[in-house]
């Protein structure tokens, strides 16, 4: 009844709803609003949770991406440095373009502190042979002293037992450059026995490998003169030079796949000598194998010169010396011997094929 009455009243008089509305305004609506707020808060919270979770997921994936990118970046950076190094090597390659070279990596170094030799990852399978010159950066690094199928040991020029013939580039005065353990820390080497003549040698001048060295190819940069003085005997000069190669950070090197013996044709004459004695192609083949450093003989000495030194008494001493530095006499022998007409052209033309020149049939056996 009350309801119907109220309905009728509200239909006919709109104002009857007023008090009720006021009442509702005072009581229900605030509560509703409150509930609404709580509800929306709850929704917000749950939504927050959702977004947080999403953000976390995103974060995780982004982190993974960052890691991946960092890794990629590192790899790229490493490659960039390698590229720079290789580019430098390539530039060097252009500088010494007339020689054929094989690139190699340094894989291990001498375990002691007394000597500085190292191993590279190329060996006889890559055509490396004993006595080949090794260069890097912009100059001479050392010489191959021992060869295995996939490795070769290189004695660096700063090694205490290393000697080589040097030459001042501008004046062509020859000298002997020696590695010295006590100078390694200063990054220097010693040179001595330079003739005390009118030619002025100044600090900063280039010293290259000389034309009379029997193991080192001519004209490879060794270093720059850092100090020079006249010896007390007034006949010779000596001093210090700074090698151009940073031996502490050696990673890649280039091996010149041609030995001085091949270039000058000394091994051809030895081959001739070998063939002459026992008469026959077989003996020649043996000698060829010997110069290939595959035969048993040279291995003992670690030098291509080793085997033939028995034949030529003049060679005996320098070969034993390691670097063979009594160069002039050695050179005299080298030049004198090829006087055989056959040896001359072979030595100059096809130095690389020197050993294979005479007995081609036997070369595979040597290898």
């Amino acid at each position: 009844m009350v309801c119907i009455l109220l309905m009728l009243l509200s239909v006919f008089y709109e104002k009857t709803a007023g008090p009720f509305k006021v009442l509702a305004n005072l009581t229900v609506i605030p509560m509703q609003q409150g509930f609404n707020k709580v509800g929306s808060l709850l929704i917000d919270v749950s939504e927050n949770f959702g977004t947080l979770e999403e953000a976390r997921k995103l974060n995780k994936s982004l982190q993974a991406q960052i890691d991946e990118l960092i890794m990629q970046n590192n790899n790229l950076q490493e490659e960039k440095y390698e590229l720079e190094r290789l580019r430098e090597l390539y530039k060097l390659d252009q500088n010494y373009a007339e020689y054929e070279k094989v690139g190699a990596r340094v894989i291990s170094k001498d375990p002691g502190n007394w000597f500085s030799s190292f191993t590279i990852d190329k060996g006889s399978l890559n055509g490396i042979r004993v006595d080949m010159n090794v260069i890097a950066g912009s100059g001479l690094v050392g010489i191959v002293t021992e060869v295995g199928p996939t490795w070769a040991t290189v004695r660096s020029i700063i090694d205490d037992s290393s000697n080589m013939g040097g030459m001042v580039l501008s004046t062509s005065d020859t000298c002997i450059v020696r590695g010295d353990l006590s100078l390694i820390n200063d990054g220097k080497m010693r040179f001595e026995q330079m003739e005390n003549n009118d030619n002025k040698v100044e600090v900063g001048e280039q010293i290259v490998t000389s034309h009379i060295s029997d193991k080192y190819l001519q004209g490879i940069l060794i270093g720059y003169v850092s100090e020079v003085q006249v010896d007390s005997n007034n006949l010779t000069r000596s001093g210090y030079l700074t090698p151009v190669v940073n031996f502490k950070k050696l990673q890649e090197v280039l091996v010149i796949t041609k030995t001085k013996a091949e270039l000058t044709g000394t091994d051809v004459t030895q081959e001739d000598a070998g063939a002459a004695e026992p008469a026959g192609a077989e003996a020649g083949g043996d000698a060829g194998g010997g110069t290939d450093a595959e035969g048993g003989q040279p291995a003992e000495n670690g030098a291509g010169e080793g085997a033939p030194s028995g034949n030529e008494p003049a060679n005996g001493q320098p070969a034993e010396n390691g670097a063979g530095e009594s160069a002039p006499s050695e050179n005299g022998a080298g030049q004198g011997a090829p006087g055989d007409a056959a040896a001359g052209p072979e030595g100059t033309d096809s130095g690389g094929e020197g050993p294979s020149g005479a007995p081609p049939a036997d070369v595979p056996e040597g290898e």
Partner: protein, 177 residues
């Protein structure tokens, strides 16, 4: 028993190889003032006084031989030096206790010093390089110090490996008796 023995041989061979490779590859880049420690000496000496002259000699011989094969001029030169080092250290087996680190340090240091002297005598003095004090100051002493520092880290590791092997040996011995 036999299995344990084989295991010990394998572990020892592995230790020699790993030490040699580290010596040739890692330590050159860790060199201070172009001097690197000699962990082959550490290994040889520790095997000597931990396991006796025979094991010391074997470990020394093979560590030296590896050096000879790759870098030596004459095969057997370093092998002999390391072999003697292993043997002499083996003589101290009686005096040695696990807990004591002073004796190992002293022995490794002494071995390293004598090793330096011998190398100087045979490889440098005989080539008339008489400036002994320079080599002493710039190579032998720095190498000695660096080696002793590395010994502090490496020796406990070798000791631990040895302990593990010893424990296994004892266990398997107990099983069979």
């Amino acid at each position: 028993m036999k299995g344990i023995k084989i295991k010990r041989v394998i572990v020892t061979a592995l230790a020699v190889c790993v030490c040699y490779m580290l010596q040739c590859t890692l330590f050159p880049s860790l060199a201070l003032a172009s001097v690197k420690p000699n962990i082959l000496i550490i290994l040889t000496a520790s095997y000597g006084f931990m396991r006796g002259p025979k094991d010391g000699m074997l470990v020394g011989f093979f560590s030296g031989l590896l050096t000879d094969i790759q870098f030596g001029n004459i095969l057997g030169f370093y092998a002999l030096i390391y072999l003697v080092a292993g043997y002499v250290n083996g003589l101290f087996e009686q005096m040695y206790y696990d807990e004591d680190i002073k004796l190992p340090l002293a022995l490794v240091g002494a071995t390293e010093f004598i090793y330096g002297l011998v190398i100087y005598l045979l490889m440098f003095m005989l080539r008339s390089e008489f400036d002994f004090l320079h080599y002493l100051r710039h190579i032998i002493i720095p190498e000695l110090i660096y080696t002793i520092v590395v010994t502090l880290g490496l020796y406990p590791l070798i000791l631990f490996i040895n302990h593990r092997l010893d424990a296994e040996e004892k266990r398997s011995a107990g099983k069979f008796v």
